[in-house]
């Protein structure tokens, strides 16, 4: 498979340029942290618990697209597929903290963990209190008894939505942290890859997958999943993925869930809807009610083809924060 065609200028400047585009598209709601690859809300309310999200770039609209009203207050943007540096994280959290501390939500990867941990230590030295929630929703990455070995994939979407609502309403960092942990612990995902994305700076694909094969459970950077096989019909793949997710929490009859079908980049909306339809059918058969469905591109991996399915089990509190209005580049609801 050859190098994909891409609309780029200097590949080294992709992160800076995408931030300029994002800020320009948000009509004054966002600003760039001066001279840095980070976005923050133009206005952060006084006395607010601040919500910081972030990670490597290349997954747009995650993370900077989720900075906005009732969502996150700021996002340091690392280079493509590389965690942001401690000083960038520290500068971003310093810009958004308002005296009530900062909740940091990010995907569970070694690089992110180390860089955000170093930033948290530097913040503590500067007198800023932080709490950390690492998202580890990918059931394909490790068995349940090794939960902390799991990667964070599209489950970030629900954790950020709930944490954003909680950070807007609650004035105690520990309470916001508790709600975000609850969202994280009730969220499970699994992906399927049809074709690899590429790294803008090199043009190289992140993995090799034969033309007629798919990989169930593959991670957002092409980390290997649980089974590679010849491609089959959408319904069989959707049912297998849904059942693996349901068995993991486990979800059971009578539960109410939020559903996210996330496009990894290059899959058509038509296919997304076909899969979403099948997930709904499977959930109905299993006696599980769907409170809300989101279908779209929220955490991508360049031109990677494929999608992921995420379910969050709801209670009254999670439903409340999930249903709050929100406005950002990636996600708005009245």
């Amino acid at each position: 498979m050859g190098k994909p065609k891409k609309l780029l200028n200097n590949p080294v400047e992709v992160v800076s340029e995408l931030i300029d585009g994002l800020v320009a598209a948000c009509g004054g709601d966002l600003r760039r942290l001066e001279g840095r690859n980070a976005v923050v809300r133009a206005q952060v309310a006084d006395d607010k618990v601040a919500l910081l999200i972030g990670g490597g770039s290349g997954h747009e609209p995650m993370f900077p697209g989720f900075v906005g009203y009732n969502l996150a207050d700021g996002a340091p943007c690392g280079e493509v597929f590389a965690a942001p540096t401690p000083d960038l994280i520290l500068d971003t959290l310093s810009a958004i903290e308002r005296g009530r501390g900062v909740l940091m939500v990010y995907g569970n990867y070694a690089g992110d963990n180390m860089n955000f941990d170093i930033a948290a230590e530097l913040a503590e030295e500067a007198g800023i209190v932080t709490r950390t929630v690492r998202v580890w929703d990918d059931v394909a990455a490790a068995p349940p008894e090794r939960m902390t070995d799991r990667r964070g994939i599209a489950g970030d979407f629900f954790v950020i939505k709930v944490a954003g609502g909680a950070a807007a309403e609650l004035d105690d960092l520990d309470e916001v942290y508790r709600v975000a942990i609850k969202a994280r612990d009730n969220t499970r995902s699994m992906g399927v890859a049809l074709a690899a994305g590429s790294i803008p700076e090199t043009g190289e694909r992140t993995f090799e997958l034969p033309e007629d094969e798919i990989e169930i459970g593959m991670g957002a950077h092409g980390e290997p999943g649980i089974a590679r096989r010849k491609i089959t019909e959408a319904d069989a793949i959707a049912e297998e993925m849904t059942d693996r997710i349901l068995a993991d929490l486990p979800f059971s009859a009578g539960d109410e869930v939020a559903l996210l079908v996330n496009n990894l980049g290059a899959t058509t909306c038509m296919e997304m809807l076909i899969v979403s339809r099948k997930v709904h059918q499977v959930l109905k058969e299993r006696g599980i009610a769907v409170h809300r469905t989101d279908v779209g591109s929220f955490l991508t991996c360049q031109e990677m083809a494929g999608l992921s399915i995420t379910l969050m089990k709801l209670d009254a509190e999670l439903k409340h924060y999930l249903d709050m209005p929100a406005r950002s580049f990636a996600y708005s609801r009245a």
């Binding site: 490597g56 690392g78 280079e79 493509v80 597929f81 590389a82 965690a83 942001p84 540096t85 401690p86 000083d87 990867y109 070694a110 690089g111 180390m114 860089n115 941990d117 170093i118 990455a141 490790a142 070995d149 990667r151 790294i199 700076e201 090199t202 190289e204 992140t206 991670g219 950077h221 092409g222 980390e223 290997p224 999943g225």
Partner: protein, 210 residues
């Protein structure tokens, strides 16, 4: 050949290390594509290009200061796991040179030992998990064992031990980092971080033993 390095020579050595890493970007990219997402080379290039720039403007007051400045540059510019790990190696390792006027065999061994301790604490990884620690730990042990033989022997032995460590990672299954989900598919490939670790020592050796 040097048996000790002045702070100014230590700075020049780190400039040579930086150039060696930057020149190795394509090889590191290839190595990482086999078991990672292929971004290790460009990350190391960002970090070590910054080291080269920083060294050009760092006043060589002490060996500790130039090593710490290199670590800070790596941590600020590399990003990802590599930035935290290699930044910590140089920053934590620089403590071994405090109170020392020159870089000698004992200083080199101390740098590797303190660096190893810092990296293990930061990332929670242990030897045998197919990481840069599998090159760093044998290098630290080899340098320690060669202190009495002087700096040239210590850096040669440490470099050879690191290369041996890289070879050994081919037989390991990754159990930490992004490559851990490869399981047995990571067998046969060296760990990219371990390769970078051995490149750092190789450049130090070439400067010291030239």
């Amino acid at each position: 050949m040097y048996d000790t390095l002045t702070p100014s020579q230590a700075r020049d050595m780190l400039t040579a290390v930086a150039r060696h890493l930057v020149a190795s970007v394509d090889m590191l990219t290839e190595v990482d594509q086999a078991i990672g997402d292929g971004d290790h080379g460009i990350g190391m290039r960002r970090g070590f290009a910054a080291v080269e720039e920083t060294m050009a403007t760092t006043d060589p007051e002490s060996v500790a200061k130039v090593f710490k400045a290199a670590g800070t540059a790596i941590m600020a510019k590399t990003g990802g796991a590599a930035g935290a790990v290699f930044g910590t190696l140089f920053r934590a390792g620089s403590a071994a040179f405090e109170e020392r006027a020159a870089l000698d065999a004992e200083g080199l061994a101390g740098f590797l030992a303190r660096g190893l301790e810092g990296v293990e604490k930061r990332g929670g990884a242990q030897p045998g998990q197919k990481t840069m620690i599998d090159a760093l730990a044998p290098a630290a042990a080899a340098a320690e064992a060669a202190i009495a033989s002087g700096l040239v022997t210590a850096v040669r032995n440490a470099t050879d031990a690191a290369k041996g460590g890289v070879e050994a990672t081919k037989g390991m299954i990754a159990t930490t980092g992004k490559a851990r989900t490869l399981g047995e598919r990571s067998l046969g490939h060296p760990d990219p971080g371990a390769v970078s670790m051995s490149l750092i020592l190789e450049a130090m050796r070439d400067y010291i033993a030239a």
